[in-house]
Amino acid sequence: MAKSDAKKKTQYGPEFLKGLLEGMLLIRRFEEKAAQMYGLRKIGGFCHIYIGQEAIAVGAAAAIDPARDYIMTAYRDHGHALAASMDPKVVMAELYGKITGCSRGKGGSMHLFDVERHFYGGHGIVGAHIPLATGVALKIKYRGEKGVILCFFGDGAVHQGSFHEALNMAGVWKLPVVYICENNWYGMGTDYRRVSAVHDLSSLASSYNMPGKQVDGMDAIAVFENIKEAVAAVRTESQPSLLELRTYRYMGHSMSDPGTYRTKEEILKQKEQDPILILKNKMTADGVLAEDDYQQMDKRCKQAVAEAVDFAEASEMPAIETMYEDVFK
């Protein structure tokens, strides 16, 4: 696994690092509030919280050019949406099912979209969006564009046929796509080692003539650097790749998951590897972050989330007749 050396002083400027940290903190505070509002029944259905995995969405989004690149992910999508610069207000409003939500209250937690920001969803069927992202890559190549798409999915998705079919075609056609498996150890309640013939999921890339690599998904800088490298290989050599980002989710699979399949000790041990603390501690040690900076940052994130809740609360419900809209163009 490519662990970054915590003792080495980073080459990145303080503003860049603060951007990563604040990006993660915004997702953390947003997700805490989403969980709270779910408990208050303001949000319903399936709600998959991203806490613990923030370094991946934020590090990845920092590694691409939003003007020409794309992001697509599965149903644990709030973090990716925010990392893709979606307004927390329209994301929270969508969770509330309000007409002001990004999907006009028709998508909910699992189906966030922002066509302008090249955030292509938000998809609910495990693994079924992997061919879609590969199709976006086909479009990029077909049009002779310079972009790349980052396709995120969990460890549960790699056993779907759609994963293997799509990676094979991307390998044959050299499509501009980076496949990013966020291995958070559990496909719902199942330890991935119980259902995977290989425990190094990045090794699956070898079947499709593309490089595979394991990366520490709790280290935002390592995520950024490795995805940057994978994106560069797409741009310069038309080489797709598969990255396995080793991570951990601190909450249940969804809000209705009691989490009986893992111990409190395991979760506590994993929380020592909290991606926000890792970066915060590193920046503090490097002398580029004062505690007061961090507190200000946290205050801004909490404020943005509070405003998102206010916006969602104040927004109108969709009128009944809107249910007939958006079926056909």
Binding site: A128, H129, P131, L132, G135, Y142
Partner: protein, 325 residues
């Protein structure tokens, strides 16, 4: 007017639309170097090359999803399924992704894509390669579904489907690919959602679609010999359905038989029969009859497989019922 085969009418439609719009491309198994399993794409790879006529591995879910993703991003793919029997491998992509993307994104994305290939019973193929799946696709909101009986309709409908901004499923038929018919040289389009009166008549309405249109026309000729004047409505579009054309015909004849080569339960024919019963209740002089395939998987033996499908005799028997003969 030139007389050409159904497969060549489809080929012309694809060729003309590819020439007209660079965003249109063809993707599927054997579509390029092999010129198509049923030769629908003959010559297109030579003309347009690897970029726009794309051979895939045997991965229906994968290449169907790739087409949908490309459509979300602004291309206009034509996905060829070697047969609709294999489309079942890709059903999740069509139902959960193509049909719903616009809705779930609050109108942000559209999916301008055509899925096409041969559907329905063929000959000597047993159950997995000989079945009509119109009902499965027609059940799903967010899809448009069309079924062409003639070369003229095939070309005009496919051109409209390629230009449509929504996912369109086009049901063709293996046994129709060689069928010949008039196709004008000048460009024309057939709008989606419009039925066609294939034979005007006054005494009984026969509603059908796809390959069976020809059988129903043969039944109508047999009826004419007996002095019975039947009207044959070819739905052409199963979704959206041309309710006005159906109602207008039954209002005129007061008798209706629906013929569908699919299975009876939850079928397109069953829905249309309900629609007629509901919309034309006061005009009907007899109950609506439904002629479908038998409610069994398709057998291999030729006598059995013919017996399992609609036939001229079955249609004539239904006509006798509604005319109280």
């Amino acid at each position: 007017m030139p007389v050409i085969a159904y497969r060549d009418a489809l080929n012309q439609a694809i060729d003309e639309e590819m020439a007209r719009d660079d965003r249109v491309f063809l993707i599927g198994e054997e579509v390029a170097l092999y010129n198509g399993a049923y030769k629908v794409s003959r010559g297109l790879h030579d003309k347009y090359g690897d970029r726009r006529v794309i051979d895939t591995p045997i991965s229906e879910e994968g290449f169907t999803g790739i087409g949908i993703g490309a459509a979300m991003a602004g291309l206009r793919p034509i996905v060829e399924w070697m047969t609709f029997n294999f489309s079942i491998q890709a059903l999740d992509q069509v139902i959960n992704n193509a049909a719903k993307m616009r809705y779930m994104s609050g109108g942000q994305f559209s999916v301008p894509i055509v899925f096409r290939g041969p559907n329905g019973p063929a000959e000597w193929l047993s159950s997995q390669h000989s079945q009509a799946l119109d009902a499965i696709y027609s059940h799903v909101p967010g899809l448009k579904v069309i079924s062409a009986a003639t070369p003229y309709d095939a070309k005009g409908l496919l051109k409209s489907a390629i230009r449509d901004d929504n996912p369109v499923v086009m049901m063709e038929a293996e046994l129709l690919y060689g069928a010949k018919g008039d196709v004008p040289t000048d460009e024309y389009l057939i709008p989606l959602g419009k039925a066609d009166i294939k034979r005007p008549g006054r005494e009984v309405t026969l509603i059908t679609f796809g390959k069976v249109v020809h059988m129903v026309l043969a039944a109508a000729e047999a009826l004419a010999q007996d002095g019975i004047d039947a009207e044959v409505i070819d739905l052409r579009s199963l979704r959206p359905l041309d309710e006005a054309a159906i109602v207008a015909s039954v209002a005129k004849t007061s008798r209706c038989i629906v013929i569908d080569e699919g299975w009876p339960i939850a079928s397109v024919g069953a829905y249309v029969a309900w629609l007629v019963s509901h919309r034309c209740f006061d005009r009907l002089d007899a109950q609506v009859e439904l002629v479908t395939s038998e409610d069994i998987p398709m057998p291999y033996n030729h006598q059995l497989e013919l017996a399992a499908q609609p036939s001229v005799d079955k249609i004539l028997a239904a006509v006798e019922k509604v005319l109280y003969l």
